[in-house]
Amino acid sequence: MTTALAPRADARAIRLRPASWALLAVAFVLGIAAFGWPLFASSGPNSSHTGDAPWLMVVLVPLVLGIVIAQLADGSIDAKAIALLGVLAACGAALRLPSGGVAGFEPVFFLLVPAGRVLGRGFGFVLGALTLFVSALLTGGVGPWLPFQMFAAAWIGFFAGCLPAWRGRAELWMLAGYAAVAALAYGLVMNLWFWPLLAGSDTSVSYVAGGGLVDNLRRFWAFHLTSSLGFDLPRAVFSALFILVAGRPLLSALRRVARRASFEPPVAFVDPHPEGPPAGP
């Protein structure tokens, strides 16, 4: 007679409960607001406040991030997931050290994308956030932008876990493409956040409170084009290339550890002599 403990189908490092899903949904919406407010905010009697909106977000975003992570980690996360999180975040940060975490050469995605892919959405989300947090602590890059970087990276990790379950060449190309897109998107949203601060309010590329979506998009595009796209494109290409080159061993290594630290190990306690008392609960 066999008592199998915790037999589960999926092998997600962090499983998402319905509550987590709901929270993630709201967080996603809030994230859109947190990054995209310059495009949506309307002008009016208190339009001058929109100049301070990013700072309001600086208070709110870490709060939301903390809640989501707490919710994800709460209960459903085991020692292996924690250890892997810590170690992978450390590796990501170490990769990021030479670049000093400055935009441009941003090797974070090498690790984040495959890890999210292999170890699942929830894990990808937390890993993305923690990686940037750790590297900020190591490089002294803690600042008002940090929560937003964490937030963006978290979603990159999350969606990496949502990619279709292709294998082989297709998988590599998919991941490479995704990494490139992710790198670009990351640069874009972070730039969107820096936009009102760096471009001020009285240049031809700066954010005009209530200037209307189209006009502001035009201005932002000009800003992005002239400020950071120069860094983002090489970064995207580099990320994609690296995944094409080192992706296979990377994935196999991650899969190997996911197997070794089998997240739902097929545990069984067998009782050799049936007349004896049944072992196990």
Partner: protein
């Protein structure tokens, strides 16, 4: 910083904070920050003084000002007379005017540049046009003629009988830019009498009635009929509302001035002195910091 003062402050701090409570502090802080950012610059005067204040007898602490706003070819000109507390700055006058006429408040760039009056122009700020900068030029008219940029509207304190002129121009951004198309003259002020009398009370009332509708699209809140004689005096609102609405405004304004008293002192005669003092303090602190870290290393 003397150890004694430090001790006192420390004890005060300890006891006071004990009352507040740690979580309270954190929460309160988050709130203060949220509020600070949400409502930070919200010190603009709120309520409107009634239009006929110019005609009515006024308090000792008040002055009468006429504001001429000429949006160039962006719409008709408007002339408004209003009563403000003594020491009000040009910008505050402009804000009070907007509040009184119920039109859009002036829009500023974070650089302090005035972008729009009465919501005109609707977007952009001091952009370059063909013939130069398209911006609101600030004039102050005394008797008969306008003079350009006689001081900074942020800091220039109006005195009784001042005429503030704003003209939206496309120009070099200096004295060569054209002034409002209306000569400043004391005649812009209505005759002050106890009786509520005005030449065009109907026009005034129409101005009053137009405030709500004119706030949005129409750049100026006054119908063209008044522009002919260029005089807008408010309609005959009941005098009682003066006491009702006016006082709090004055009180508010006064409180601002009290808080800002050092400001007045600093900007008046030799503005550099306080700056130099503070800079010296900063240098001292920085020096201390550097020395400290040297000795540690």
């Amino acid at each position: 910083m003397g150890g004694r003062a430090v001790a006192v402050l420390g004890r005060v701090g300890a006891s006071a904070a004990l009352v507040v409570g740690g979580l309270g502090v954190a929460l309160g802080l988050a709130l203060v920050l949220a509020l600070g950012v949400a409502l930070g610059p919200g010190l603009a005067p709120a309520a409107a003084a009634p239009a006929d204040a110019c005609a009515a007898p006024m308090a000792e602490t008040d002055v009468r000002v006429v504001v001429v706003v000429d949006p160039g070819d962006g719409g008709p000109m408007s002339t408004t007379c209003l009563v403000v507390p003594r020491g009000t700055t040009g910008m505050q006058v402009l804000a009070r005017r907007a509040a009184m006429l119920g039109v859009a408040v002036p829009r500023y760039a974070s650089s302090g540049l005035l972008c729009a009056i009465d919501g005109y122009p609707s977007s952009g700020c001091g952009e370059r046009g063909g013939a130069g900068f398209r911006y609101w030029a600030y004039f102050s008219g005394t008797s008969g003629d306008w003079s350009y940029g006689k001081g900074n509207p942020f800091t220039r304190r109006v005195v009784d009988g001042d005429i503030e002129g704003w003209r939206f121009v496309e120009g070099a951004g200096n004295g060569t830019d054209p002034p409002p198309r209306l000569d400043p003259s004391p005649s812009l002020f209505p005759v002050q009498s106890t009786a509520s009398s005005g030449p065009t009370s109907s026009a005034g009332s129409s101005a009053g009635s137009s405030t709500g509708s004119a706030a949005g699209a129409a750049p100026s809140g006054s119908p063209s009929g008044n522009v002919a004689d260029g005089v807008v005096t408010g309609g005959d609102a009941p005098v009682s509302s003066d006491a009702a609405a006016g006082r709090p405004v004055v009180g508010d304004a006064v409180s601002i001035e009290v808080a800002g008293a050092p400001v007045v002192a600093s900007t008046s005669s030799r503005p550099w002195v306080p700056v130099v003092i503070v800079v010296l303090v900063m240098v001292g602190l920085a020096g201390g910091a550097v020395v400290r870290s040297r000795t540690r290393a």
